[in-house]
C-alpha cells in the first residue's frame, strides 16, 4: 500500500489560489458506538482549470466529500474552501448564494425541472439570481453540448443523455469557479456517457473550467487530469493523467 503523497501538501502552498480545497476534513454521522466516519481527516486541493475525478468503492466517502465541498453538507471538523472563501460557519443563505453564483452542478439524475424547457433550465441559476444572460456565452455553451435545436423541448421530450447535457450546460452558463459532477454518467448508456464526458473535457480544455467529478466508472475517470482515490473516508492513492487501465490497477490495489 503506497502512501498518498498529496495528503502532506499544504493548501496554502504557492501563490495561485486553488479553486477548492478541504483541510483535515472529518465528517461523522451518529454518536457514540454507532458513530460512523464518512470522512476521516481528508486534505485535498483542487487546482484551477483542472478536471479531477474522485473514485472509491461504495461508502468510501466520495459523495460526502463532494457535498461538503459544494456547501450542501457541513463538516464535523476541518475546513472546506471555495477559492479563498472558507465555507465553515457560513449561514445557510450564504451557502445557497455561493452555490448559485460560484458553483455549477450536474447530478446523476433528476437534474432538470420538468415544467421548464431546456433553455429555461439552462438559465435557471441566472434567473434565480436575477442576473442578465450573456447571450454569446449561452450560445457557445449550447453549441458545445449540441442542443441548439432542442432548446424549446421539455425534459420529458429529451433523452437521458440530452437531459444530462442540458444539466451540464446549466452548470457552465454562470461561468462558475468550479463545477461539481456527482456520478453524471451513472444513469447513461456508454455512448451518451462518452458524449457527456467529452463535453466536460472540452469545457476544461477550451474554457478553462475547473471540474470535480465523483464516479465509480474507470472509463469516466480516465477523462480526468487527475484521479483521487478514497476508501474508508481517507485518501489512499492518486493518479495523474490516468488511463482506464491505470485506474483499474489502482482500484485493485485499493481493494487489497
Amino acid at each position: 500500500m503506497s502512501a498518498p503523497s498529496t495528503t502532506s501538501a499544504p493548501p496554502s502552498a504557492g501563490p495561485p489560489v486553488p479553486a477548492a480545497a478541504v483541510v483535515a476534513a472529518v465528517k461523522s454521522y451518529g454518536s457514540g458506538d454507532a458513530s460512523v466516519r464518512a470522512l476521516d481527516g481528508v486534505t485535498v486541493v483542487f487546482e484551477r482549470s483542472r478536471f479531477t475525478a474522485i473514485m472509491g468503492p461504495s461508502g468510501s466517502g466520495k459523495s460526502t466529500l463532494l457535498h461538503c465541498l459544494a456547501g450542501l453538507d457541513t463538516l464535523t471538523s476541518g475546513d472546506a474552501r471555495l477559492g479563498e472563501q472558507s465555507l465553515t460557519g457560513l449561514s445557510e443563505k450564504r451557502l445557497t448564494l455561493l452555490r448559485r453564483d460560484r458553483m455549477g452542478f450536474v447530478f446523476q439524475a433528476f437534474n432538470l425541472l420538468p415544467t421548464l424547457t431546456a433553455a429555461e433550465n439552462i438559465r435557471l441559476p441566472l434567473d434565480l439570481a436575477g442576473r442578465s444572460l450573456d447571450r454569446e456565452w449561452f450560445d457557445t455553451v449550447v453549441r458545445a453540448v449540441g442542443l441548439a435545436d432542442r432548446l424549446d423541448h421539455t425534459p420529458a421530450q429529451l433523452s437521458g443523455g440530452q437531459q444530462q447535457r442540458v444539466a451540464a450546460a446549466r452548470a457552465l452558463v454562470t461561468r462558475p469557479e468550479i463545477v461539481f459532477a456527482d456520478e453524471p454518467t451513472g444513469a447513461l448508456d456508454s455512448r451518451s456517457g462518452a458524449d457527456l464526458l467529452a463535453f466536460l473535457r472540452r469545457a476544461v480544455d477550451e474554457f478553462g473550467q475547473t471540474i470535480v467529478m465523483v464516479t465509480h466508472d474507470p472509463v469516466a475517470a480516465a477523462h480526468a487530469d487527475r484521479v483521487v482515490f478514497l476508501a474508508d473516508g481517507r485518501i489512499r492513492d492518486e493518479l495523474s493523467a490516468p488511463t482506464t487501465d491505470a485506474v483499474l490497477d489502482a482500484m485493485k490495489r485499493l481493494g487489497n
Binding site: 450542501l72 448559485r100 433528476f110 420538468p114 434565480l128 451513472g186
Partner: protein
C-alpha cells in the same frame, strides 16, 4: 390488508387530520343545526309545560287555525262565563285572565326590548296555583290602579325593585306605576325572553282595553276527575265561539306551531350544511386523487406481491371510512360549539333563543356519523377505482406520471352544460319573473363549470399568470406548477369557487334589494316622515301615537298601517289594514282597477298578481280566514300593482282588521306635511311626540332608506358568515393540496435549492401557486355569482326587487381577499417546502 390500511393512515397523521377537518366542519354544521333546533324545541316545550302547570283545562276563544302568528291571540270573551264554569261539577278553581301589549320603560325612559319576544301586560292571576308558575320572589301582589309586578329578568336589567316608580307604555299611551313586586316563572326569570307587567284583574282589563272580558280562563279540577272528563263537562256549558282544551292539548299545539316555525329555519341551516359538505366532499375527492397518484408505486407493489384489484380498492375505501369516522366524531364535538355559535349569531340578528342545556338526540349522532362517513367514502370511490386501473409493472416503473389530458367527451359535456346554463341565465336576466328558469340555469351552469373546470383552470391560469411571469422566476415556476396538473388545480379551485359563487350571489341580491328599497321609497312613498318601531322584532307602535301626531301643527295627513295574520287557500299570509281616506295621500299603491275610496269594512283590495292567479275582478268575492273570526267573505273592491311598500297582497280597512282580531298596533305610521309646510318646520313637533313613545323611530325618506339598507346589510352579514364556512373549508383544501404537492416535489425542490434557490424564493414559489389557485377559484366564483345573482334578482322582480345592482367594488374585494387568503393558506406548505433537505432530495437516485 387491514394492517396495511391502518399503518398507512398512521404514517400520514397530519394529512389525515387536514383531510378530516374539511368533512368535520360540514358535519359540525349538521350537528349544530340539529342540536340548536332540538334545544329550541325543548326550551319551548319546557316553557309551555311550565305555563300550564297546575292548570287542567283552559277555556278560550276558538281559533280557525293555529301557528306562531296567532299563538296566544284568541278572541276575548265575556267575563261572566267564569260563573258557569265554576258551577260545573268537578271544578275546584277557575281564574280568568287578560293579556295584551305593555312596554316597560327603564329608568332612563328607554324601552326594555327583548330580542324577538313580546312585551306583555297581563292580569295577576289568583289563586297562584293557576298562574302558570308565575310566583312572587319579592314584594307583594298588585292591588289597585297604580301597582305593578314585573318579571325578574326585567327587574334585573333595569334595576327596578319594589317601591320604584316605572313608566309603562300601552296601546293608548304611557302610564306611571309603582313596582310592588318581582316575580319569576318557577326557576326561570322570564318567559322565553318576553317581558311581563302584571296588574290586578280590574286594572289589567282596563289598561289592556278588555273591560268585562277574559282572554282565557284557567281551570283546576278536583282530585279524581281526569282532564279529559273535565274538558268535556266544561265544553258542554260553554257558549258558542268558546272552547275548552286540556293542558296536554295546549302544550302539543304550541310545540307543533313552534316546531313548524323552526322548520324553515332548520331547513335553511341544513342547506348551508349541505353546501359545506359538498365543498368538503370535493376536497376529500381531490385529496384522495392526489394520494392515490402519489401512492401508485406503493399500490402497485401491493398488487405485484399478490393483492387483488378488489383488495387494493377496498384498502383505499377503508382508509376513507376511517377518515370519515374520525371526521364525523370530530364534527360531532365541534357541532356543540357551532350550536352555541349559531345561537349567538341569532342573538345578534334579534332572534334570542332562550337558554337551556344543549339537546343531543340520538338522531343527531346517527345523522352526523352517517353524513360524515357517506360523504367521505363517496368522494373516495372514484380515486379508489383509479388506483386499480394501473398495471402493476407500469406503476412500479413510473417515475413522474404526467397528467392525463382532459377527455374530449368531458370537454364537450362541460361546454354543452355551461352554454345551456349560460343561455338560461341570460333568459332569466332578460325576462323578469323567471325564477324557475334562473334556478335550473344556475344548477346547469354550476354543473357545467365543474365538468369543464380543468379546461377553464388552464385558460384562466394562463391569463392570470401571464402578468405574473414578469415578476420573476418564482412566479413563473408557480404558474407552471399550477398548470402542471389542471385537474388538481381545478378541483382545488372549484371548492373555493362554489363558496365564493354563493357569497357573490347573495351579495348581488342583497345589493339589488337595497337599491330596490331606495327605489320603492322614492317612487311609491309620498310620505315625508315614516315612524316605525325601532327594533325590527318589536310588534309595533301604540295607536295613540298616530292620534297625537294628527294634532301636531303643520301635519297634513297621518296614515297608519296594521297587519293581521290570516289564511287564504290554506296558506298563512299577512293582510294589511289601512284607512282608505288617508292612504292615497301617503303612498302610491298603483291601483289598477277599482278605487280605494270604495274600500269599506266588508271589502278587500288584492294585488294584481293574486287577482290574476285567482281570476278575481272587482265585484268578485274573496274568502279570507282569520284565526279569531273564521272565514270572512270580502268583496273585491279593487286591485293594485305596488306590493313593495306594504309588503302584502291583501289590504283591508282598519275596521275590518279590528273586527277580525288583527293587531291593534301600527306597524308603520306615514306622515305627510300640510301644503306649504317645510319639512324642517314640521320635524320638531313630530320629534316631540315621538319622544314620548321611546319605541318609535322617526325617519324621513332618506334616513328610512338608509335604515332599511342597514337591516339588509345585517342580513347579508349573517348569511355571508354562514357561507364563509364553505370558503374556509375550501381554503383548507388549498392547504391540503399544496402540502401534498410539496411532498410530491421534494426532489425538485432539492434540486432548486442545490443550484441556488434561496429558502425565501422557495416559499415564494409555493405562495404564488396558492395565490393563483385562490384567484382562479375566486374569479370563477365571482363571475358565476354575478350572473346567478342577477338572474335571481330578475326572477324575484315580482317580490319587489325592481333593480339589479352589481356591487363591482365589493366583488373585486372578494377576489383580492381570496388572493390574501391564498397567501395565508400557503404559509404551512411553503415552510415545509423551504425545509426540504437538499442532500436527501438530490441523493435519492
Amino acid at each position: 390488508m387491514r394492517r396495511v390500511v391502518l399503518k398507512g393512515l398512521l404514517a400520514r397523521k397530519l394529512r389525515l387530520v387536514l383531510t378530516a377537518v374539511s368533512i368535520s366542519l360540514g358535519v359540525a354544521f349538521v350537528t349544530g343545526t340539529f342540536v340548536l333546533g332540538d334545544t329550541m324545541t325543548a326550551t319551548f316545550d319546557q316553557l309551555y309545560e311550565g305555563l300550564t302547570e297546575g292548570t287542567d283545562v283552559t277555556v278560550r276563544g276558538e281559533s280557525a287555525f293555529t301557528d306562531t302568528t296567532t299563538l296566544g291571540a284568541t278572541k276575548p270573551f265575556d267575563a261572566a262565563v267564569v260563573d258557569r264554569i265554576e258551577a260545573v261539577d268537578g271544578v275546584s278553581a277557575a281564574a280568568g285572565s287578560v293579556t295584551g301589549y305593555a312596554l316597560i320603560l327603564d329608568k332612563s325612559g328607554q324601552p326594555v326590548q327583548p330580542g324577538g319576544a313580546p312585551t306583555l301586560g297581563a292580569s295577576y292571576t289568583t289563586p297562584e296555583e293557576l298562574a302558570g308558575g308565575f310566583t312572587l320572589r319579592s314584594g307583594s301582589a298588585p292591588h289597585g290602579p297604580s301597582q305593578v309586578v314585573i318579571d325578574a329578568a326585567t327587574a334585573g336589567k333595569t334595576g327596578y325593585a319594589p317601591g320604584d316608580r316605572a313608566t309603562i307604555l300601552f296601546t293608548d299611551g304611557p302610564r306611571d306605576y309603582t313596582v310592588v313586586g318581582v316575580a319569576g316563572f318557577g326557576e326561570a326569570d322570564n318567559l322565553a325572553g318576553a317581558t311581563i307587567a302584571t296588574f290586578d284583574l280590574a286594572t289589567a282589563q282596563q289598561v289592556l282595553g278588555k273591560v268585562g272580558q277574559f282572554d282565557t280562563i284557567a281551570v283546576r279540577g278536583e282530585d279524581g276527575v281526569s282532564a279529559d272528563e273535565l274538558r268535556d263537562r266544561i265544553d258542554a256549558v260553554l257558549p258558542g265561539g268558546l272552547e275548552a282544551v286540556t293542558s296536554d292539548e295546549v302544550v302539543a299545539e304550541s310545540s307543533k306551531a313552534v316546531a313548524d316555525a323552526l322548520g324553515f329555519f332548520t331547513k335553511a341551516l341544513l342547506g348551508f350544511a349541505a353546501i359545506s359538505l359538498l365543498v368538503g366532499g370535493l376536497i376529500i375527492w381531490n385529496t384522495f386523487s392526489i394520494l392515490v397518484a402519489q401512492r401508485t408505486r406503493e399500490l402497485a407493489l401491493l398488487r405485484a406481491v399478490g393483492a387483488s384489484r378488489r383488495q387494493v380498492r377496498l384498502s383505499v375505501v377503508a382508509e376513507a371510512l376511517v377518515i370519515g369516522l374520525v371526521a364525523a366524531a370530530l364534527g360531532l364535538g365541534l357541532g356543540l360549539g357551532v350550536a352555541a355559535g349559531l345561537r349567538a349569531v341569532l342573538g345578534v340578528a334579534g332572534i334570542e333563543v332562550p337558554t337551556t342545556t344543549l339537546q343531543v338526540e340520538p338522531r343527531t349522532v346517527v345523522a352526523a356519523l352517517l353524513v360524515g362517513v357517506v360523504v367521505t367514502v363517496l368522494a373516495a370511490l372514484l380515486p379508489a377505482r383509479q388506483a386499480t386501473k394501473v398495471a402493476p409493472v407500469a406503476a412500479l416503473r413510473a417515475v413522474d406520471a404526467p397528467a392525463k389530458p382532459v377527455g374530449r367527451l368531458r370537454v364537450l359535456l362541460g361546454a354543452a352544460l355551461t352554454l345551456l346554463g349560460a343561455a338560461g341565465l341570460g333568459w332569466a336576466i332578460a325576462d323578469e319573473g323567471q325564477l324557475g328558469v334562473a334556478g335550473v340555469a344556475m344548477l346547469l351552469t354550476l354543473a357545467g363549470v365543474l365538468v369543464l373546470a380543468p379546461v377553464l383552470a388552464v385558460a384562466v391560469t394562463r391569463l392570470v399568470g401571464a402578468p405574473l411571469a414578469r415578476l420573476g422566476t418564482t412566479a413563473t415556476l408557480a404558474r407552471r406548477n399550477a398548470l402542471r396538473n389542471p385537474r388538481r388545480t381545478a378541483s382545488t379551485a372549484t371548492a373555493l369557487m362554489i363558496g365564493l359563487a354563493l357569497v357573490s350571489t347573495v351579495t348581488v341580491v342583497a345589493s339589488s334589494m337595497k337599491a330596490s328599497v331606495a327605489d320603492v321609497i322614492a317612487d311609491s312613498s309620498r310620505a315625508d316622515f315614516i315612524l316605525k318601531a325601532a327594533s325590527a322584532a318589536a310588534p309595533g307602535l301604540p295607536p295613540a301615537l298616530a292620534e297625537q301626531l294628527r294634532g301636531v301643527e303643520g301635519v297634513g295627513t297621518v296614515a297608519e298601517m296594521r297587519l293581521a295574520p290570516a289564511q287564504v287557500d290554506g296558506g298563512t299570509t299577512m293582510v294589511a289594514a289601512v284607512d282608505p281616506a288617508t292612504i292615497e295621500a301617503a303612498a302610491n299603491l298603483e291601483v289598477s282597477s277599482g278605487a280605494l275610496a270604495t274600500l269599506d269594512d266588508t271589502s278587500v283590495f288584492v294585488s294584481d298578481d293574486v287577482a290574476a292567479a285567482h281570476g278575481w275582478v272587482v265585484g268578485d268575492h274573496a274568502e279570507v280566514t282569520y284565526a279569531q273570526t273564521g272565514v270572512q267573505r270580502f268583496t273585491v273592491a279593487g286591485t293594485y300593482g305596488n306590493t313593495s311598500l306594504l309588503g302584502t297582497d291583501y289590504v283591508t280597512t282598519l275596521g275590518a282588521n279590528a273586527a277580525n282580531g288583527g293587531s291593534e298596533l301600527d306597524v308603520a305610521v306615514l306622515v305627510v306635511a300640510a301644503d306649504g309646510v317645510a319639512l324642517e318646520e314640521l320635524r320638531p313637533g313630530l320629534e316631540a311626540v315621538a319622544a314620548t313613545y321611546p319605541s318609535a323611530q322617526l325617519d324621513d325618506a332618506a334616513s328610512f332608506t338608509e335604515a332599511q339598507g342597514q337591516t339588509i346589510d345585517q342580513l347579508l352579514a349573517i348569511v355571508t358568515m354562514l357561507l364563509l364556512l364553505a370558503v374556509v373549508i375550501a381554503l383548507l383544501g388549498i392547504v391540503n393540496t399544496l402540502a401534498l404537492s410539496v411532498f410530491e416535489r421534494t426532489r425538485e425542490l432539492g434540486l432548486l435549492r442545490a443550484v441556488g434557490m434561496t429558502r425565501r424564493q422557495v416559499r415564494s414559489v409555493v405562495r404564488w401557486e396558492s395565490v393563483i389557485v385562490a384567484v382562479l377559484g375566486a374569479l370563477l366564483g365571482a363571475v358565476l355569482g354575478l350572473a346567478c345573482g342577477a338572474a335571481l334578482t330578475r326572477g324575484l322582480a315580482g317580490e319587489g326587487l325592481s333593480v339589479v345592482d352589481v356591487p363591482g367594488t365589493r366583488l373585486a374585494l372578494y377576489v383580492v381577499a381570496a388572493a390574501l387568503a391564498g397567501v395565508l393558506a400557503a404559509i404551512g406548505p411553503a415552510r415545509r417546502a423551504a425545509k426540504v433537505d437538499v442532500l436527501r432530495a438530490v441523493a435519492t437516485a
